[in-house]
Symmetry: C2
Subunit: 286 residues, 2 copies
């Protein structure tokens, strides 16, 4: 899990630092949650987007299962010319990231936002260990897993939660109403396979045993480790002809403006020069 909340934390630090530099008020939590958290954890619109992503996954699953069509890139495939793993007569599965894909970690994000701090890996580890009854299912996820299981498609999780906390993550998924996952069978974590946080090795190990007809995640790394480069390059890759054809077909993306590789980029990367506008009624100079 890549965390790029730095800007948000900087803004809060500047606000608090600026105030504490000229007054004796103690640091106080912001009046309201950051906008991206309001949207992801609190809005009807984000809930609808999640339900929609899972509806599309279930709608596509039957046909892909009948065609035994894998969604996992084959070893040596490229993003320009994707080829997919061989399904043979392997049992049917669908592959899911956990955090902000199957489960929402509002409990952790609440604590982080109230502290006014940035992502803290030690704190996150304590969340994995002790937050198991605080996670909730992403809207639409539980119904989708039920539908998949009824179709004979086994949900499998490929997460960067720690293998050391496997029992707690099994408990968290079950407590969120997502059913039974077992480490090493239907739950793969950081430390499994090659021990890295990149997920391709675990995906390959899973695809060696299962016919994975669909994948879902909130980060491009949940689909392939081949996505690379600066934000603009990644954004262009996601819309390239071969990859654009996968979204909503075999690859399903969940909204997450709160953290991750999608929350990055400077002014020049996010706003291409040719698309900028200067209000003719303002005094702002470029």
């Amino acid at each position: 899990m890549i965390r790029t909340d730095i800007l948000k934390s900087l803004a809060i630090a500047v606000a608090l630092g600026g105030l504490s530099g000229c007054a004796t008020v103690p640091p106080a939590p912001a009046a309201a949650p950051p906008p991206a958290m309001q949207y992801l954890y609190g809005s009807a619109e984000a809930a609808a987007a999640s339900v929609q992503a899972y509806a599309a996954l279930v709608a596509e699953a039957e046909g892909r299962a009948a065609r035994r069509e894998s969604a996992v890139l084959a070893d040596g495939a490229t993003l320009d010319a994707p080829r997919f793993a061989d399904c043979g007569d392997k049992p049917l599965a669908a592959l899911f990231d956990a955090d902000e894909t199957l489960i929402l970690n509002g409990g952790y994000e609440y604590d982080q936002a109230r502290r006014g701090g940035a992502f803290d890996s030690a704190s996150w580890d304590r969340w994995e260990k002790t937050g198991t009854d605080k996670v909730v299912a992403v809207p639409g996820a539980a119904a989708a897993l039920t539908a998949l299981r009824a179709m004979g498609i086994t949900p499998i999780v490929n997460s960067n939660r720690s293998a050391a906390n496997a029992a707690e993550s099994e408990a968290a998924l079950a407590a969120a109403g997502l059913g039974t996952f077992r480490h090493g069978e239907t739950l793969f974590l950081k430390g499994d396979a090659d021990g890295k946080s990149a997920k391709d090795a675990r995906r390959a190990a899973i695809a060696a045993r299962w016919c994975v007809i669909a994948m879902a995640g909130d980060q491009l790394g949940d689909f392939s480790d081949l996505f690379a480069g600066d934000p603009a390059a990644r954004r262009a890759l996601a819309q390239s002809r071969a990859i654009a054809a996968l979204w909503g077909r075999g690859w399903f993306v969940l909204p997450n403006p709160v953290y991750g590789a999608g929350v990055a980029g400077g002014w020049d990367e996010v706003f291409p020069v040719g698309q900028r506008w200067t209000d003719p009624g303002s005094k702002r100079k470029e």
Copy 2:
């Protein structure tokens, strides 16, 4: 268009105010765009989510057109028991919001973020008038409209842009590669029908002339004016049995964590008490 960017603006104002209160440095733009803008305008993940939403719309359109199944709620329908408008032998159409649904307004948002200000309706009006060559299509939108037109389904826009700027909005949609829209025929704006910003009256006027088989938007108000209440109530409504069945079937939602009704809510609304966590390794007190 409801703007609830207030928190973001407040944070910036507090940061700048705090600094300017005890030093003579001039207000400076933030080091990077706000996280929600990084995500929406700059990320591969948001682009993928948009492509996915449009892919689902196109995938569902053929069947809905064959069944002549309207996506517009009938007069007097409720969210508990939705009934849909009568298609009769009306021509086929699909209905779209414009801003952050068909087109991205990164040019305006860039200017607003660089100014460090909140939404400004006078500035937005100047954007409608002079930003026509700066808007870009939402990823996936242009291809979807092309596919719909090839199926004999006419794209229609229902937007809260001003009817006074109809010519400029027609130009903006065309410049973004979305084809021809004509005010009063395939483009409906604030000031049309009943003159209100709520969209039900315009939707009813459109559904009286067209069989609207799908709707897309970034706000629940793009689907029905019946969604109401605080953020938690709206979020529950969007996931209610009858409404959940519409997402990804006849209603298609695009991501927008930057502004709108989804960017709202205090700590209690966004983070239900039972889901909060306090890191046992921190000194934070609830």
